[in-house]
Subunit: 400 residues, 2 copies
């Protein structure tokens, strides 16, 4: 025991006692107990021989989750935006042009990162809540001849899944553009085939369909993309996220660059083991099935999904807010009454949609059942024109 | 239970079973069981009202550890190099000049980050293994008139503690330069008084004297430094580390910027609670006392400390490698025989020193005793001219 402090200026802060939530928002999702347990494992050093084996395991498991053979597949030392900036900040060189979409919040973030990397930004348009149209993308590629084309596979801000990915990548490659894909809300939950779909660079976050606490974030680059990174004329503008330096640590040399977030590497290893145990296709099917029940429940109580069925995103369900209802009040009440987290809309869809996650360990019959029953209860209480019993029944039926 | 995978391409990776090490290298240090337990706490969302209270607690506790009243005191979402780049990349604007030291590895990293931020770099010289001389710093400030002066308070690569900090900051302020201080290996272990010493910006890592897993890293900025950041002509080159955007999340607004590494925030809160319970001055005294016993033990077996006593760094002990001994082989043997981690030298001191940490929870009588006994055993076995019994006796004596 350390001696008790005799320092009256020391803050008196109590034990950590956060409430127990059910996480059905846009992320983080509920974390599997095995992953939480991995996080309490005592540390080894980041250059320990045993840690190098753990790094190898994580790389192998990440390749499986991304469905890629890319050697360059690593967890970046930060949350999802760090792997996003590692992708854009390394691939986009000063003077490069990057084509980004306007159909959601994260296309805007891509633009901001590309500009900070010294790139020029051009846009391909689609409204918030709709996917990109391959023909429009082709036109934009022909018009702007970009070096890099970025798009979002699973838009967390709109609940839209981008279909026709192979068409988009083929169009980009016809114009010699490298493709960077945001897979933050799809990796490990929604069909994603990096190699088969010819995606050059994909980044993700761990706290969505992998159900892992944020802190180490998946990134994969093809040899061709990595060649561009390694032959840059000037170094990337971030030292921390410089992939040419990280190559020394994650590549064959295993030389010190920065201290890896050891515990976060432990946890993503365990989260990815759960993916491998379940099987990636089984996992995609589970998300479709459970989110399908959620969607059936929402529709069964009379709510409307914002996206068309064709580009519905199982991991993030954008449900339209009923007439006369304040989305923020509903979210607050669900948290208050049921310890249940969902979120409202962002940007162009602020106030118009609820964003309800169905990701990873949160994609379970019990969570989906609770969500539908609780949402029906609160909306009904707030005077919305919904059929609570119809919602619960439709959800139960879909789960059978 | 998820269905068992029928996917033969799924990697078959076993349970996480890292060896149990005693960490007495340059970091990470051993993590306190209470901090490990905090890491297995189920997550709340990063915008949950309860998380905002947790953020407030962390900020208050960090201010105490830094001994500052700076409002702008936060954990950066990444490991120590991320908080370092957040400091340099935001404060240094394109065209600014930054004065950096040459007396260790981390001054070189400062230079690289300042250049990537668009700054010019000038240097103030001192050999590896020695501190900066205030008179030389004053001359360099007069010669180069820099906008920013960076120095390392506790050089992890050389085991040197920079004395005379108030003299350095006063000299910099006489030339209207802002001072950025690397406190990675001092925060929470070695006397550090950000406000009293007039340091404008200090960054640190959690995995040294705070004994917290890496992943969320302390940073503090004075109002004056933050004013420079908020009045930049162009945005910082990193979106992820842009403090003007992070202000929205950590400031009064609590608006979404990126997903915070929730679990790492839990853990640093618990690690900082332990600092407050012990009292910061008691903690500094404990590090001096325990590292003093380690130093007595090393000297007692006939080894020599690399730095003079005047600038000895208790948290990182640079011990000279005896004649005819290979430092790497000793480190490997300690790991093999005792599960005990220490490290060799870097850069100009490669092969010349052992780097032995005595940090946070690792700064205990049992760890120090083990370290001295094990090091004496292995060096003696390797034929070094050491007195094992003299080392163990001197350490025991110092611990009484």
């Amino acid at each position: 025991m350390p001696p008790a402090s005799d320092d009256s200026s020391a803050p008196d802060v109590g034990e950590l006692t956060p409430p127990t939530r059910t996480l059905m928002g846009p992320g983080p999702s509920d974390v599997h107990p095995r992953v939480l347990r991995a996080m309490s494992t005592p540390l080894v050093g980041h250059l320990d021989p045993s840690f190098i084996e753990i790094m190898n395991d994580v790389q192998e498991l990440l390749r499986y989750a991304f469905q890629t053979d890319n050697q360059w597949t690593i967890p970046v030392s930060g949350t999802g935006s760090a792997s996003m900036e590692a992708a854009i900040g390394n691939v986009v060189e000063p003077g490069d042009t990057m084509l980004v979409p306007t159909n959601g919040y994260f296309g805007g973030r891509m633009a901001s990162m590309a500009r900070r990397a010294g790139g020029e930004v051009v846009e391909v348009d689609a409204p918030w809540g709709e996917p990109l149209d391959p023909a429009t993308v082709s036109d934009a590629l022909a018009e702007h001849d970009p070096d890099v084309f970025g798009f979002v596979h699973a838009e967390t801000s709109t609940g839209v899944r981008q279909p026709n990915v192979p068409e988009l990548t083929a169009a980009a490659h016809d114009h010699d553009a490298l493709v960077i894909t945001d897979t933050v809300t799809s990796l490990g939950g929604v069909e994603l085939r990096v190699d088969e779909w010819d995606i050059d660079v994909a980044y993700s976050g761990p706290q969505k369909c992998l159900s892992c606490p944020p802190g180490a974030s998946p990134l994969t680059l093809s040899d061709e993309a990595m060649e561009k990174v390694l032959s840059r004329e000037e170094p990337s503008r971030s030292w921390y996220l410089d992939l040419s330096l990280l190559e020394g640590y994650w590549g064959d040399e295993r030389a010190y660059h920065h201290t890896a977030p050891i515990t976060n590497v432990y946890s993503i290893r365990e989260a990815l083991r759960l993916v491998a145990e379940e099987g990636i296709e089984n996992r995609w099917a589970r998300h479709r099935r459970l989110a399908g029940a959620l969607k059936a429940g929402a529709e069964g109580m009379g709510l409307e999904m914002n996206p068309d069925d064709e580009y519905w995103l199982p991991s993030l369900n954008a449900v339209r807010v009923p007439e006369g209802i304040d989305d923020g009040e509903v979210c607050d009440e669900l948290l208050e009454r049921y310890d249940l987290e969902i979120a409202g809309g962002l940007g162009d869809l602020a106030g118009e949609i609820f964003r309800i996650g169905c990701m990873g360990y949160s994609a379970s019959p019990e969570n989906v059942t609770l969500l539908i029953a609780a949402l029906a209860d609160v909306l009904d209480d707030f005077g919305a024109d919904v059929d609570p019993d119809g919602g619960v029944a439709a959800c139960r039926e879909a789960l059978r």
